[in-house]
Subunit: 345 residues, 2 copies
DNA sequence: TCCCGGTGTCGTCGACCCATCATAGGAATG
DNA sequence: CATTCCTATGATGGGTCGACGACACCGGGA
């Protein structure tokens, strides 16, 4: 390449990277020769020399057997999409990597040169995260990490505020006894949300009505929904913490002959758009994964490039309650929901 | 590192990689020192020297503004998940890269050292693909590429057979006039499916009833569905080529007071699970994206490692018709729906 | 018994991968 | 001769690979 253009290797490098002080003539000449030859500088060599690969790892904690769940849940999917997009805008690409597992996926981690890593819902003592931080590779977490887990920065929703707001909304719609469908896992999201619920109950003087189940068991949710509505102290409103809870609760309500929203108000936390078209449409709490994904990437790249000195390392983002029919008992002819609902009673 | 263990750099390399001929004592000694120091060989240096990065590019052709759609459609999402998983199993990781766009995303492509690339639904003259192939980097395509687009290998469904089978199924269920909701784009999937439909019509002597619309316009689908059912020669069965067609057609049928499946049989091509719980459940044609994703990766890695000499470069995979209520008019209490393959593929 | 080539095992050397960066060098100019 | 301005030189990053050197042990011939 250098020979073809009749200049030195350095000149080629400088010309292509816009560095050094070269006359425009040389620069464009080198560029045209490179173009003609289809020459591309070796990414590997550049990475070796500069120490920057332009690659960011992305990993999602998984529960089941499959090593990857980043497409299975709408939250992860949208978060990953936004993150990929934001990274691209700043010249980085995302590498999908497996969360730690017993199969020791370490090798694959050390086989790729990363400038930084995004971790979604890290487990409390993720060895990969520890290892990366020890190596000086910044890690930004989506979801508040355990205190024992060192990360460069993290982003999370204000789950407490979200739950409080949503419970207030239900109460305003006339709910007297609000139930909670939650997980029996100890992850931060579940813990914070449940605590916020209990505190809210205490404040307004309501006895908590809680059913919990192993959140990663797809069938257990339906059973727990059923249990909740079968209780003697049956709630007249329910908040489901997980994505499938909406349909599960709707099905359970149908089984018990409860009309939504007349007999039962419903809200669930979900990013899925199907709840806009269920019968009736269900009010959802959106965690705004897109915004989170974008923020996580900005924080991470700032850390990588050392350009975000002043930015906070802990960022709490607001959520968004999308109010639909299922949580509005009052006249509510002001329904701003789907204009085309076939008005089936 | 080499100094700490009291051996040469080469010995460290050999010990850690299990190469060379070293006594077990030396090997384990080096390993323990490396462990203690937390030493990891530089991925960049290894890549530079060996020419292998262990990285595979993944890109999805996009239509809209957003540079990434790999999570938006169930097909892409599942395909990507399976591919990631399969790659991991063989020691590779996937890098998400943008499809070519006017914003010239070339730079990001040449900034990462790839061993190979998976392209989902490549456009007819994708310059990135051409460039990669010219550089000797294997490219495997999901979806039959245009003849002008050179790829190492491709995998696709047998769309013609799928359409024939599904039309036969509808006819067996009593359909007299089957309509088609299709796209007016020229991509291979649409073209093959539409042609197969027309040929089938000719064979059985039915006049084609076709409505087409720009498939990437989310609203146009509903309108086209409406148009189809408003025609004077209204079909008594419809096949929708795209994922949202099922709900669109269902909604349209409701507006016209058509009962499904009594007045209208419905099938659509989709990977979405929501069609199992619609009212009524809708028969879907699954393209088995998981199986495709896995196959694509196997072919690609075989090409990279030069180990798949005998394997065909063009692989056509069967589809799966998941029969549900919407396409069974007769007594049909004998629901013979697909025996629920545990998605092992 | 002594010396020497033969055989084999371990471990090290040096080249190499290919850009990038700091600095030295050379030409043109004042 | 000093100053600019441009370009070449050489070191550098950190492994990997082919080839060679060091060393121990063996048996055979002198």
């Amino acid at each position: 390449m250098a020979a073809a253009a009749g200049v030195s290797i350095t000149t080629v490098s400088d010309a292509l990277n816009g560095k050094g002080r070269l006359p425009e003539a040389t620069r464009s000449h080198v560029r045209s020769v490179a173009e003609r030859l289809g020459y591309r500088p070796s990414a590997a060599a550049r990475t070796l020399r500069t120490g920057k690969s332009g690659l960011i790892g992305l990993t999602v904690t998984t529960y089941g057997e499959e090593p990857f769940t980043f497409t299975e849940f709408a939250y992860f999917a949208e978060m990953a999409r936004a993150a990929t997009s934001a990274a691209l805008a700043r010249g980085y690409a995302l590498v999908i990597l497996p969360a730690t597992s017993r199969h020791s996926a370490f090798d694959i981690w050390s086989n790729v040169a990363l400038d930084g890593t995004v971790v979604i819902d890290p487990s409390d003592h993720d060895p990969v995260v520890t290892e990366l931080m020890r190596s000086g590779i910044p890690v930004v977490s989506d979801g508040r990490p355990a205190a024992s887990l060192p990360v460069t920065a993290w982003v999370d929703n204000d789950h407490e505020a979200a739950v409080r707001g949503l419970l207030d909304h239900l109460a305003e719609s006339g709910a007297r006894r609000i139930g909670l469908l939650t997980g029996n896992t100890t992850d931060t999201y579940t813990r914070l949300s449940t605590t916020a619920y209990l505190q809210w109950c205490e404040r307004v003087g309501q006895d908590p009505v809680v059913e919990s189940y192993p959140a990663h068991d797809p069938c257990a949710g339906a059973v727990a929904a059923d249990r909740l509505l079968a209780r003697p102290d049956r709630p007249d409103a329910v908040y489901g913490l997980f994505d499938p809870n909406g349909t599960d609760l709707l099905a359970a309500a149908r089984r018990y002959g409860l009309r939504v929203p007349d007999d039962l108000l419903l809200v669930c936390c979900s990013e899925s758009t199907v709840y806009a078209t269920t019968e009736p449409p269900i009010t959802t709490l959106s965690l705004k994964p897109g915004r989170i994904g974008n923020t996580v990437i900005q924080l991470l790249i700032d850390a990588i490039e050392g350009s975000g000195g002043g930015r906070p390392v802990e960022q709490v983002m607001p959520t968004d309650l999308i109010v639909r029919t299922s949580s509005q008992r009052l006249p509510s002819r002001t329904t701003v929901s789907a204009p085309r609902s076939p008005a089936a009673d």
